[in-house]
Symmetry: C3
């Protein structure tokens, strides 16, 4: 079974959510449509629906990320699930236990879903291959590999502003090479039939196999931005700034930082996305971050709806858990 | 708009709770009366009311305080809210994000209330000035500035024992200069029309502008305690004990520590408050802490009721959140 | 009152759960039978019952243990309680407050149950002696003394596989001397009338008063395992491995590690338990851990049911909390 296939049931329905790769347009559209429906929940007086009442969602974070953990915790609570936060960095893997033993231990508590964040690419998939059949695994970011819920919240944000993907030009700007957000976005944009996908950045920060990804490569930001409808800025990891891959944050900003002048090269109604947290003055000028074209906070809002949607879909696609216990 | 006014709506109702300063007697009485009503909840078999069901309360703690965080978490849960604990010391402000970006990010998750603790005076007010209009901000302690829920739980405790404030003499003893508890208590006692408010401590630990605060200043504890009905002891921060402001903890206790002998100078039925945690043998002798005049644990119990009251009032005073979303 | 008696009410019902010592067969059977009933909850679509709705359970962990904390948190949530996690290592005992002041402070928040984990033997009992009468205390492990819920989940696992205890031979293998799990298991097995209880390990890791515990002592693993129906392996603490008590982990495994060959000396249908986390290749060979005789993950599942049972029983045995407040 290919990495991408483990997340689909025999009849092709989503049972985990690990990567966009290998999914079909219908899977992504189902997530987006469900997220649209659920986005209304947060605007009601009572921001909860009983969908996952009596289910247990475990945030299994091997890599600390308060922000991402918070969005999944909130999504689960708005679906009325019980949430356990397990920070494994400070937990029993310290005690010499293997990853698999940790997983089997928590699954034996008869939980329903693992939300996994891990510094190693493939960790969420590894866990999905080994968990009990009643447990769904969501990938909340694995190494440089994938961050599929981030991609889907970006797609939701784009669709809300631009409608169909077929006519869109989208530029992804920055450290594409090390970015799981970029990888997942490229796959999602392609699956959704986006007109043109560009990646823009210095050679040291773009993948060597760019053509295989179905994208156009630009090293010059002005060229890369010309006439695009959507600009997805990537976060520059601090450790890169002082490393051999980049001269300095200031020099990076001079070449690849998004300013209002540069944004003027894009289509007049182009929108700007960023996964956060933003390094103001490095990836983007504050005028752009706070300007009318940025949809960065909408991304956050849509992120809750997308995560609620994915949780609802994968658990809805599963058999009654009782059938899985001996 | 003055700092004090930001917390009131156009028609003068509490929409945040940042400081006692600038509030009127009616605001404080509303909190105390609501807290009395809600104090019954914790004595029922089912210690919950549905008031905030479907609301999301975020404990945004930039300064670690398990105890204070626990009281707000419990208050919110007893009102049936969902609670997210976000410890920002270990979170994304580490990643170079500004405070305002962090706030905007979490508010974009469509939460309803921030409970803010921060080492910098004015932080909660700063946040209240910048949050989306549907979000209420509660100050859980900002620098040396204010700790208004602590003041209100002290007022509730005093009122339960002493009734009207007009005839009372109250002494606040210790490090008034650095104490947000003292500042908020002085304001609350004055707003409630307390007969006489005294501050007692060494010159190095009393504010220079004491007269402007409407209090009488005593440097001698015996004089300061004479005939008072209420003694509010302040916590002595450990870092002060070894600093230039104080000779030593033992010497401090000798001059300003509350003993049974000294307490005998106060009115025969005087009560003793302390915000906790207590340094036994520094601010107070254990015989007083454990004696019949101490109401320190009642303060804790009342603190849950006061926090439930403030949460109910500020959210009750707000428009339906739906109206605030574009 | 003896240490063991503090946990029983005047009419002999469980009001805390601190140690197996001093309990009668009927107490243990009540826990096992209740756990059997509650084990069905986790197999339902909605894994919750309203038993503790409106109650507040506080996980008071002075010793960090994500795994144990998680099992109690989950048990409480499946009973619909509100749960507060208070990690005291990072909390106010840092600020110079005494343990008793910390306890009194949290109990003043009108909580209903403390789940206590502490590195010092007797800590849970100390707390039980001093809490307000309406609060139940569960011992989640105190020093080398006791870990009674672990013992009860082991008993539940054994009873599910073997039925009556009278005809069973049980071997407890490893570092009995330093193990609170072993002590609690020995008491539980004796109270339940187990046919024969053996302890197996090197002299340096067995208690000197073994005979007084009602067990048979073996220093040779092959002899100790012969014809037993149940093998309870203990976790070897890492700090022992490099200490003076043991030559090395490899040498320990050679003498006391459980392999399939050695397990063949036991009864043909013998089961193998381990409290986790396992050091594969130290206490047990991976072939045994993953083999058909290991019931280690069932222990975890049963642990949730046992903790739900204990929580239900101790709170059910208490008067209405309202009666305890002045």
């Amino acid at each position: 079974m290919t990495p991408a296939m483990i997340q689909l049931s025999a009849d092709g329905r989503l049972q985990h959510f690990l990567t966009i790769e290998g999914l079909q347009r219908k899977h992504l559209i189902e997530i987006l449509d469900t997220a649209e429906t659920l986005s209304g929940v947060a605007e009601r007086r009572v921001k909860k629906v009983p969908t996952l009442h009596g289910k247990t969602v475990v945030n299994l974070f091997f890599e600390n990320s308060t922000r991402t953990r918070t969005t999944f915790e909130l999504a689960a609570k708005r679906l009325s699930a019980d949430v356990l936060n397990v920070n494994i960095a400070t937990s029993s893997t310290n005690k010499g236990e293997t990853l698999l033993d940790t997983i089997r231990n928590i699954e034996a508590m008869q939980v329903d879903m693992f939300v996994v964040r891990h510094a190693v690419s493939g960790a969420a998939e590894f866990i999905a291959r080994h968990v009990a059949p009643h447990i769904a695994v969501l990938n909340a970011g694995d190494g440089r590999h994938a961050h599929p819920t981030q991609a889907m919240l970006d797609m939701m944000t784009i669709r809300r502003h631009k409608g169909e993907f077929a006519n869109l030009r989208v530029a992804i700007v920055g450290d594409v090479l090390h970015s799981r957000v970029a990888r997942s976005n490229i796959h999602a944009l392609n699956v959704l039939g986006t007109g043109e996908v560009r990646i823009v950045g210095p050679k040291t920060l773009l993948p060597a196999d760019a053509e295989g990804l179905g994208v156009h490569v630009y090293h010059d930001l002005a060229h890369g931005l010309r006439d695009v409808d959507v600009v997805i800025m990537l976060r520059l990891q601090r450790e890169r700034m002082s490393g051999a891959l980049l001269p300095s944050a200031a020099e990076y900003f001079q070449q690849y930082g998004l300013t209002e002048e540069r944004l003027a090269l894009a289509a007049p109604d182009a929108i700007v996305l960023h996964p956060g947290p933003i390094n103001r003055g490095v990836e983007m000028d504050s005028a752009v971050v706070d300007g009318p074209r940025a949809v960065i906070l909408e991304q956050v809002t849509n992120g809750i709806a997308v995560r609620m949607a994915v949780m609802s879909i994968v658990l809805g696609n599963r058999a009654h858990p009782q059938e899985d216990f001996a």
